[in-house]
């Protein structure tokens, strides 16, 4: 049975490097994927994951188990970092046009990183196309809607956890998720029409 987070966090706060290493090993996947879903680029996701962990390490003393779940806390720290990154990045502010050709840095990187070993090559290609489509549609959402959809439907956080992470009321969380899903579906619909049968 794995050691609970609370004990490891306590050890890490006392300065135990092995405990910190365990925490990084346990949560790096979630943080890395969260960053990647948000920015859509592997190199940026790596940089942001690193920054997020540095921030978590420095603020570990501020975390108390009574105030909430550790996962919610680290996701909250990462989310703040992602929003800061979004605000700083001028290129992110530019609306991505559907007419724009597929960006090699984004979609093809994604295609390459998806695990292989599907039942058939055709099914594999289709799944990769679908995943690329989803990522591209996610990038077209506003950051508020994007983070709500990512946290709920990709990171599978509960509505309450998302409310804690985003520091907004439950009703607003629900509303953002609803709008985000509808916008995501509309984006995918438009892209399917644009690219025709190849994306279908």
């Amino acid at each position: 049975m794995t050691e609970p987070d609370v004990e490891i966090i306590a050890q890490a706060r006392r300065g135990d490097p092995l405990a910190w290493e365990k925490l990084v090993g346990r949560h790096s996947r979630r943080i890395y994927n969260l960053c990647y879903r948000f920015v859509g680029k592997l190199d940026q996701a790596e940089d942001l994951t690193q920054e997020a962990f540095i921030k978590i390490f420095r603020n570990l003393g501020n975390y108390s188990p009574e105030s909430g779940n550790f996962v919610t806390w680290i996701v909250s720290v990462t989310r703040n970092l992602l929003i800061d990154h979004y605000r700083q990045s001028k290129s992110e502010r530019m609306t991505v046009s559907i007419d724009q050709p597929l960006d090699a840095d984004e979609d093809f990187t994604l295609l390459d990183t998806l695990p292989a070993g599907r039942p058939s090559p055709q099914a594999e290609v289709e799944q990769k196309e679908q995943a690329a489509l989803l990522h591209r549609a996610l990038k077209q959402l506003s950051p508020d809607l994007r983070e709500a959809v990512i946290l709920r439907d990709l990171e599978e956080l509960t509505y309450e956890e998302i409310a804690v992470v985003l520091k907004i009321p439950d009703g607003t969380v629900k509303s953002r998720i609803n709008r985000g899903r509808v916008e995501l579906a509309k984006c995918i619909q438009r892209m399917r029409l644009q690219f025709g049968g190849s994306m279908a």
Partner: protein, 233 residues
Amino acid sequence: MRLDCHEIEEYLSDYLDNSLEGEVLAEVRQHLKECPSCLGLFNEIKAALSLCEVMPQLDPPARLIEQILVQTTGKYQSWGLWEYFRDLFRPLYTSPRFATGAFLAAVSFGLALNAMGFSFARLSQLKLSDFTPRAMAQGFQRTVYLTYDNSVRRLNDLKILYEIQTRIDELRTQASNQPAKEKEKPASKKEEAKPQSSASAMESMVAMLWSPPRGLAEILRPVEGVDREEKNC
């Protein structure tokens, strides 16, 4: 209550989560039956959420974890022996191209070792002193000299064999031409000419074989024997 398409959109997500009740639920159901546009959007949302469920999670690269640890605690990752080897050989099982390259490199390394005089059969007899740069260079030099010596010897053997073959052909040609000349010339001259030609052929062969390469000693022994017997006669 009658909801329009825009209002229905706001309920689609809740409808998918089965969190609608009563009049609103009935209204959304009815609307989806009648409105193909909203039904299409609903199906698209459902498809997008299914896609989200099967989206694979990416593994963070090992070097990222390493960087995080160095940046925070300033220490490297504490790996066990198995984890260390698994990471060391990770490219072998993640990239077939790299695995092929590594195999070819191993074969080349084996050939180079062989050239330096290393043999797996002599593995138990090896000493630490055999791995000094001097010993390895000597082994390599020895192999190069042996290879060169063998090549030169074989080349010389071929040259000699070619010469012998040429001489034999010449003798045969002379022997076949001899009867025609005998008819034209008197009998006394015929007797003098025959030993002269065969003697000169034999002399040239002996001159040729006078200092044979060491590798041909076995081949030449019977030829010299025949030569001596002929001279004794």
